[in-house]
Every structure is written in C-alpha cells, then in structure tokens.
C-alpha cells in the first residue's frame, strides 16, 4: 500500500490541521463533527480521533465506527474517550498520582516501535514529567500494551483482537506529525512525532500483509 487514506475527526478546535499534514505516505481529510453526521468511511483506511475530540458525537457514530473496524481497517484514538464508543477498551481518568512521579516505560513492543523514538525523550517536556498522557486504559483481552506508566498502567495499547480491524489507543497522549500546543520541547516533540511515524509505518505494513 503506497498511500494511506486517513480521515481525522475535527472538533472545530483551533490548529487541528497543523497536526496532520498530507505527504506521499498519508493523505489526510478532515471531517468536522456537527449535528448531522453523514458517515461514509468506505474511502478511508484509517480513522483518527485526535486530542480534543468530540466524544459525544463519536458515541453517536459508534456503530459506523464498529462497522469500519469489522472491515479490517484501522482506528487511532489519541484522546480520553469518556464515552463507550471504542470497542472492547475503556479509558479512565485518574488524578490519584502526581505528575512529577510519572515516568513512561515500554512494556511489550513486538512491532519494534522503539526504533522510532526515545522513551527518555517522551518522558520530559522542558524538564516536566507526566505531560503526555492522562489517566490510563483498561485494554481489551489480548490487546498489546506497548507503554505503561510508573504504576504499570497501560498508556498505549494496540488491539487487533476486539474487532476484525486494528485499534491504536493512547490514554489521551497526543500523537501526530506535529504538535500544536502540547509541547514545543524539541526532544519531546521528536519523540511524539517519531512514535506517530512508527505507528503509520506499522499500519502500512499490516495493511500490506492483509491484502
């Protein structure tokens, strides 16, 4: 597969287009969520729910998203989905731990995503820890937990079991080509963008294998 066709859910938030810019590998379209939801995802290989997504709208669209996944396609959710629209997985907000105690660790990495970023660079933005993710994920059975926090709570999960498709989920950790307002620390930014590129390459490999 030479080009992934991706659809980014837009919530009308300032700067969203800067996060995902089309290149020869990925063509991005943006769907601004609103009161009317015409949902024809057949032209797309990948749906992206970025930081700041409308989880009321996506809950209302959950059946279409489930059908999209059943076609063997891919969902990225880089936000805290407080409504139950992500099949088989749950995100839970939590404030019981202090940000300064948070460290990210690689747990299981069968797809060698670590080749694309340095975990030590993701850990700090301008020397501040705990900046990237919020809360934790309760993964579906058989899902792979790639990243965990200090208390071994899942922060990045790849789930190829809950549906016929592939889900890449973060505990609200933003991922994209660029960062709008989350960090401008060069190393943290590179880690975030590198991990995103690694995931894009992984999805393209998976799509080739499934053809």
């Amino acid at each position: 597969m030479s080009t992934l066709n991706a659809l980014v859910f837009s919530n009308g938030i300032e700067g969203i287009e800067q996060l995902y810019r089309s290149d020869p590998g990925v063509q991005y379209d943006f769907l601004t969520l609103g009161p009317d939801h015409p949902h024809d995802f057949t032209a797309y290989d990948l749906l992206i729910a970025p930081n700041g997504t409308d989880h009321v709208a996506l809950y209302q669209m959950r059946r279409e998203i489930a059908e999209f996944l059943e076609e063997g396609k891919t969902l990225f959710c880089f936000d805290g989905w407080f409504t139950d629209w992500v099949p088989g997985n749950r995100w839970v907000m939590d404030n019981s731990q202090k940000s300064k105690e948070v460290r990210y660790h690689i747990k299981d990495d069968p797809f060698e995503l670590r080749r694309h970023f340095r975990i030590e660079d993701l850990n700090f933005s301008h020397g501040i820890s705990g900046w990237w993710a919020c809360g934790y994920i309760e993964p579906g059975p058989g899902a792979i937990t790639v990243l965990v926090d200090t208390w071994k709570r899942p922060l990045l999960v790849i789930d190829a079991q809950s549906t016929n498709g592939l889900m890449v989920l973060t505990a609200s950790g933003p991922l994209g080509n660029s960062s709008y307002a989350t960090t401008d620390d060069a190393k943290a930014h590179q880690a975030m963008a590198g991990l995103y590129q690694g995931l894009i390459q992984f999805v393209k490999q998976m799509n080739v294998l499934s053809v």
Partner: protein
C-alpha cells in the same frame, strides 16, 4: 437536589466533561452539548461558561443565544483560544509557555493583574496565572483589560456593554482543572464559581471512575 446555576457549553471534550463531573463542581455546572443547545436550555441559568477547546464555529451559530443571555443581565465567562466570529475582539495565537515556572520562575509571562477584580481578589500570583492560549490585540471599546502580558497584550478583559457581564480570558482554568496536571487550580475555579453565582465550592477535586466509559443519552 437543586439544579446547577451555571451552564458549561461543551463540545464533547473530555477535560470539560471531567471538570463538570467532579463531585465538587457537578452540583454547580450543567453540561450543555453545543450541537443540541437551544435558548430554552439556558433560561433558568444564571451564568454561562465557554471553555477552551470549544467549537467556535458552532458557538457562532448560537451567538444570539449568548448575547440574549447577557442582555438579561447575566454573566458569561469565556476562556482559552477564541479565534471567534462572535466576539467584537481580535484574538491572535501565541506559543504556549507552560514551563516558565521551571525555566524562569521569577518572570512569569503575565506582568500585571488587577487584583481588585472579584475574580482575582485574594488570589496569589501563582493562582492567578499558569499559562495562556493566545492574546487579544483588540478588545471592545467599552471593555477594560484586567490582565496583560509582558508585551502589554491583553490576556483577560471584561465589559458590561451587553447588559450583563462578559469576561473573556485566554487562561484555561476549566479545561486545565479537568486535566488535573496543575494541582492548584481549585483556587481559581472556586473563585470563578463564586464570582459567577455566589457559591464557593468546597473540598478536593475527586475523579469517579464510574463516570468514564459511559453511554450518552
């Protein structure tokens, strides 16, 4: 149980939801989903809050609802970015400096705050400012600046020209308190609630796990 007096206009963003669902605030704030919002939903409310990461275009479609609310003598608080088509002001983006307190703690980006305003009265400087999302380079003629940055650009302003009180800031207390990475925002948000409706919330910000992974009617 009494109905909340503050409407929190929300576009499905989790941090807005987390704030309004926290037991400390849920009795005061009612989530109003922007795409279903009608005038009848705000008639009994005393104040409206429009948080950071709002859908500005969707709000612009309900501009008359907000200005009618103000015309009734009520309060509207607007936070965060507002590249809006519904405010008589000009917002411009700026880099978000959320690390000044590590790099240069003696020189915060905000240089001046009017602590005589009831929203800021009694707050310590570290409780009155953490970071901002852009600035206003133009505010309505009858408005007054309450908070400015080192470059004298406006961070917070207020006007009574629409009947009630419209207070606009590029701070993001509601969203940032929902995120819970800054641990001292109770001070600002409690003061905000008291300024809006005369009630000061008490207690700690608690997250209830059962509020997550929910169905939505």
């Amino acid at each position: 149980m009494k109905k909340p007096k503050i409407g929190l206009i929300f576009n499905g963003v989790w941090s807005q939801y987390a704030f309004a669902k926290a037991p400390k605030y849920r009795k005061h704030y009612e989530l109003l989903y922007i795409h279903e919002l009608e005038a009848q939903h705000v008639n009994t409310l005393e104040a409206l809050v429009i948080p950071f990461q709002s859908n500005q275009a969707a709000i612009a479609k309900r501009q008359s609802l907000i200005y009618d609310f103000l015309a009734a003598g009520k309060k509207v608080f607007v936070e965060g970015d507002s590249s809006a088509h519904w405010l008589d002001a000009t917002w411009e983006d700026r880099p978000v400096n959320n690390y000044w307190w590590v790099k240069n703690p003696e020189h915060p980006p905000v240089s001046k705050t009017d602590y005589s305003h009831p929203l800021f009265r009694g707050l310590k400087p570290r409780h009155a400012f953490w970071h901002y999302h852009g600035v206003y380079t133009r505010i309505p003629q009858a408005a007054r600046a309450i908070q400015v940055n080192q470059e004298k650009e406006v961070i917070t302003w207020e006007t009574g020209q629409y009947g009630g009180t419209l207070l606009v800031t590029t701070l993001d207390p509601i969203v940032e308190h929902g995120v819970q990475q800054i641990t001292h925002l109770d001070h600002f948000c409690d003061q905000l609630t008291e300024w809006l409706v005369g009630i000061r919330p008490r207690g700690k910000f608690v997250v209830k796990p059962e509020d997550y992974g929910v169905a939505w009617a």
